[in-house]
Symmetry: C2
Subunit: 386 residues, 2 copies
Amino acid sequence: MSDVYIIGAGETKYGELWNKSLRNLAVEAGLKAIEDAGIYSKDIDAIYGANGLAGTINEQENIGALIADFSGLSNEGIPAIRIEASTASGAAALREAYLSIKSGEYNVVVVGGVEKMTDLHGSDIVNKMSSILDREWEAFYGATPASMAAIIARKYMHDFNVEKEALAMIPVNDHNNASKNPDAQYRNKITVEQALNSTPVADPLNLMDCSPVSDGAAAVVLASEDYVKKNGKDGIRILSSAIAEDYLSVGSRESIYTFNSARLAAEKAFMRSGLKRDDISFIELHDSFSIYALIELEDLGFVEKGHAKDIVYNDIKLDGSLPVNPSGGLKAKGDPYGAVGIGQAVEAYIQLKEKAGERQVKGAKYALLHNMAGTGASSVVHILGI
Amino acid sequence: MSDVYIIGAGETKYGELWNKSLRNLAVEAGLKAIEDAGIYSKDIDAIYGANGLAGTINEQENIGALIADFSGLSNEGIPAIRIEASTASGAAALREAYLSIKSGEYNVVVVGGVEKMTDLHGSDIVNKMSSILDREWEAFYGATPASMAAIIARKYMHDFNVEKEALAMIPVNDHNNASKNPDAQYRNKITVEQALNSTPVADPLNLMDCSPVSDGAAAVVLASEDYVKKNGKDGIRILSSAIAEDYLSVGSRESIYTFNSARLAAEKAFMRSGLKRDDISFIELHDSFSIYALIELEDLGFVEKGHAKDIVYNDIKLDGSLPVNPSGGLKAKGDPYGAVGIGQAVEAYIQLKEKAGERQVKGAKYALLHNMAGTGASSVVHILGI
């Protein structure tokens, strides 16, 4: 089996990008990645597109073909399909592209993720976003992503005696890192007090506990070992890729603050890579809600259940022992659903190539990326290395 | 690289299934395939779900997780993602599953396709179906799948002097075959006169030229050569799998009655299988509109451009030299978008195992399956054999 490398990466700025359409965003990120990789369209064997909500928000399906068409690549017949795994679509597409190269079928694959969410507002967008939940068993009864996270947070905080301040450390860290990331949606630093006093969204979660609604796109170019060697490319290596599933509806799970999908995916990813938790230089986490970051740090195996509160004050900082979300994370870099998982890979690529400037994690060697669907229904974990 | 086998298949009846939800249909087909394969949940390494429109019709994304959850498989963490390539989602998912086994990552994969379309009616469903077109450049201006097909038909009929009767032979053949298929949506035979005199939909296409709106699901179980040998399974082999792309918007193409995606995908599939057109025992074609069947017979390389009219009267019959759509095709078996490509594989499995009863293609040895996205934006071709 061929090793698989990332040889190029690119992304749009994340934010409220009202002057750019879904296809504009996808192609902008794709072309940046292609240019960065120094390849031509004739080199590309396939395109994998990740998108969560274009069917429901933009009334546009056939996303793979849309992107191929608008980028001018369909002329050459390059296959393009879409991978959908809700908010984990990005990493799921990265994994499919990785498998397609391992299968020997392709040598060079472009993987892009895109989401265009800010054309809708208020209850309209919340309803669309709730299509990542179980529509018939959860959303129909009024559940939203934020309300599900609030239920989970309340139980977690009660059982492990966790203060709201511990949750607030997540957006504080995210905003601090995002202030150094030119592609981030929010580059303002915030204080713990600002986080704690921000508008309540779904008690105990405030505005600063919740990722924003975002537009954005990200793309990477994957290549086989053979291609990398023959063409003298310089890339980072995908050491392992793993995915696992949990119940879609939170009510079916044994514990509402355990993401079994994250547990299983991390176990598999570490086993396949041969690395230990201590080897990881930094993590990009799926912190769509602050509470999820704490739970994920535990379920990914970096700290015991209930003890994330011990490491969120210092260790997760850019110069701490386990830097989390150097990119700014979902809270501050932004949360364009289908783009998130690929955006994490873009950050890993930049960091591992030591091109992250002010937000560079010193001596970064191995990165763990965790992209999650909905409230934990699926988790995809990638471990990348130099 | 491992050879890949289909070791089990199952499908729901196609039709207006108002008493069954999206998840009901998916799980019914999946469990039938699993039972047919004689495997247990512990054997399953991954699930690939195909779906075209649940985001826009059912306000449900996260389809992979939904299916895994409802089938009781998420308890074991079995990964489940959704592949979307519009009306070619089914075959695109089949191909991803095929690649995942070839990559060495999985041994047993369940691939299912599902669509639940008949809860909407009239212009509502036509608008949703139009999300497979280019929303901003086609559908926004009033184009629908049927009107695009009508434009293509008119030009084709004019340039090659083709009568409406030649088009009518497609639904006549489909309905005749479907009358022998218990899973088909329409099991009534129709005459050429009935086809020609049916209600106009988009001139020159009448109701009998257009596939129906359908609910339905289909699933197959794929396994590696290693698994098949170790467990003494009896299956059919996927000899080749290919996918290619064309412009999404028809107006960008050089010729509106040439499906370049079908041409390219068929070329690749034949090259990889080492077979010739003459070796093929029967074809399952993506005849969402009668005109498409004629064009596809040409672009897949079975007859010269403009000459499909020479073979649609006799050769395509069940006992002809090139049987087309023994299942009943999209017109009469039905057209549940995401399920279609997998349903074609179910038919091939039944036929190649000589279990098709009244509609058995005598001595069937090799099947070609063609599943197409929208108006030809993507084509996926599989060649299966015993």
